[in-house]
């Protein structure tokens, strides 16, 4: 099963792993639950703009690097 949402392709896991961050650590940095990070990575949930920006800042990259339209 694809980990992408039907409306959004995400590369979150690909950026998080090299940054040596667990889902828990990333979730603490952006102040959401670990379940939210898990849901985004698995394509279950499309994050809000604010959350996408927070994640991009935590991973030191651009939002466009993390998320793309299909």
């Amino acid at each position: 099963m694809s980990s992408d949402h039907e409306k959004l392709i995400n590369h979150l896991r690909a950026f998080r792993k090299p940054a040596n961050l667990t889902q828990q650590q990333l979730s603490e940095q952006v102040e959401v639950s670990r379940k939210s990070i898990n849901a985004i990575e698995n394509g279950v949930y499309v994050p809000s703009t604010v959350l996408a920006l927070k994640i991009a800042r935590a991973l030191n990259c651009k939002v466009e690097d993390l998320f793309q339209l299909p």
């Binding site: 667990t22 889902q23 959401v32 639950s33 898990n38 849901a39 279950v44 959350l51």
Partner: protein, 139 residues
């Protein structure tokens, strides 16, 4: 988290229990009509405790526990609740024998309406917890 889940399970299970008994007339408790205050009271107390905890806990913890994913899921549950209850009310009203309407029939209708609402609320609450656990999968 543990307290929240325990309260939700308790509220959900009690509502489902009462809902099934009222709809199916399968009475495990004699004179269940006398205990109709239980589901509403448990739900109100549960909601009160959760609201109080939300305001007492640190802001960071509150933001994590009720983040945008949880809020979106709660909105969806509310929408499902309105939809299912609306269909239930429509079906119950359609099944009534309006030609031979009586106080007994009215009482029965009220009990069935309560049953539909208890059951819907309880099942949605338990469904929320089940999907909560599913999303807890370790990465």
């Amino acid at each position: 988290m543990f307290i929240r889940n325990t309260l939700l399970v308790l509220c959900g299970a009690i509502n489902v229990f009462f809902g099934i008994q009222l709809i199916t007339n399968w009475h495990l408790i004699d004179g269940i009509e006398q205990y109709m205050w239980v589901p509403g009271t448990v739900t109100l107390i549960g909601a009160g405790v959760l609201s109080l905890m939300y305001h007492i806990m640190s802001r960071k913890q509150a933001r994590v526990l009720y983040d945008e994913l949880v809020v979106q899921r709660l909105y969806k549950l509310g929408a499902y609740g309105y939809g299912i209850t609306g269909i239930g009310v429509f079906v119950l009203f359609s099944l009534q024998d309006w030609e031979n309407w009586s106080f007994q029939a009215a009482n029965m209708l009220l009990l069935n309406l309560s049953g539909v609402m208890f059951l819907t609320f309880g099942l949605l609450l338990l469904g929320f917890l089940v999907s909560d656990m599913e999303q807890s999968d370790v990465e």
